[in-house]
Symmetry: C2
Subunit: 310 residues, 2 copies
Amino acid sequence: METIQSFTQLTDHLKAHSGRKLVALVCGYDEHSFAAVKRAVREGLADFILVGDQSRYGQYVENEQLSRHITIVHELDSDKAARIAIELVRKSEADILMKGIINTDNLLRAILDKETGLLPHGRVLTHLSVMHIPTYHKLLFFSDAAVVPYPTQEQRVEMIRYAVEVCHRFGIEKPRVSLIHCTEKVNPKFPVTTDYVNIVKMCADGEFGNAIVDGPLDVRVSCDKESMEVKGIHSPIDGDADVLLFSDIEAANSFYKAVTLFAHAEIAGMLMGPICPVVLPSRSDSARTKFYSLAMALLNVGLKKDSNKD
Amino acid sequence: METIQSFTQLTDHLKAHSGRKLVALVCGYDEHSFAAVKRAVREGLADFILVGDQSRYGQYVENEQLSRHITIVHELDSDKAARIAIELVRKSEADILMKGIINTDNLLRAILDKETGLLPHGRVLTHLSVMHIPTYHKLLFFSDAAVVPYPTQEQRVEMIRYAVEVCHRFGIEKPRVSLIHCTEKVNPKFPVTTDYVNIVKMCADGEFGNAIVDGPLDVRVSCDKESMEVKGIHSPIDGDADVLLFSDIEAANSFYKAVTLFAHAEIAGMLMGPICPVVLPSRSDSARTKFYSLAMALLNVGLKKDSNKD
């Protein structure tokens, strides 16, 4: 397949290659969820099961274009609505779980429930984002700005596996994963750098399949060949990273907020680990971000559900 | 004074208000140091004492415009050159210390020497940067992307004091200092957020003088009023931060590298703590960054040398 290098190409790809999927949306009462749903329906990408307070789904019902593509499951209590939506996925009656304006922590709790949730035992739950930055030549994935605060080495390894899988879905044959640190030096004072050395070894041993993994590298060297050369760094990332793995949530979040605000990047994101793609936007995310996140999830329906190696 | 809101205004201000200062430059053999020196001389801002290998300062000597404004102190050994430059500052024979292509760690070691260095006993050494981001309406200061990896609470407090002092020098009467974290929630799981609460209290008690300090806030809410309103956050920072204090070097460095690369920000920086301004650019920094850093240092000559409260 052609590599998907922008959100427009992502949408085009889905329109051409993906059948209509079924999305369970929890408490999608807000304007931006509504706009994302409307667009997904208009583009022919999805039908929706709207779980929550029926009386607050009025605008969906009144919209003629939408009405044939939605089903409403009435439930006043948002925690119960979350459990109903999750049950739909567990019974394979929905392909994707999407969050509306229910509190993130509450939805996560329901996803993590050992008996009735969506996360297979022992699987790492993490968040993967992808940005279109006007000043970068392709999409840039990164993790984790939202869910895992301080990844362990085991979690880092899984985060890379997930990112590589998703990149393959985007048609990136051999994704370049850069392990981010403030400098390129390996230094025991920064334990993350010695962790990175071990990850690079794992990659050399084929642990991540068809992928290039290198680090420690800083953000600039990872994404700019000239900076790499000026600094005299040699790396197979070659200033052309597809994925940035950040050391922790503070670094990832600062990156994300700065690049969306100051470089006008568009962003999408999804949860990795559950048995189906989960779209978990913030309340404050734009309609575009909600739609692109849904599109990212649509592309990733059917990622192997038990891929963690034991 | 008028507030300085760009590097051009900074240069204009120095030309109008600052006498010619004396800069001790260690191993300034590289093209970018040379360009920065040339510009500083041309703008009438500084004379230079070039410490290092005389034979490598040929381009300075051959430049007619420069030759009247430079003095060379010959020393082949770069560590000794650093010590000579530092001694010039200690004897008040130079106002500013500037790094050329000597290794940063080596220069820092000389600065930190308890007997012959530049850091008064008990004073915190940290790095303060300032950026001009084309998509932000004024200069944005931040700390610490270079020297203190994981600040203690005591270091954070000093970093804020330094930043406030420097902002006053830039004519920012009441600087807004935002304490950066990935969310706005105070949560004991993230000890930095409870540290921030104490810093905010100190600010209310007048500890930082004429300044506004608030947090935890994320980068976006700190610098964008609309994001603040959408998220329903109330903060005296008001989406109009002058200073971002990051939780650690990974967050600060990711921010710095991302914004310079993807939002084409211009950047300057200096060391805070020593008895004189110290300009410590990376080898790979542009001539412009080296000049702006020097300009930042020139504005800050004579910051009170013993301001740490005991």
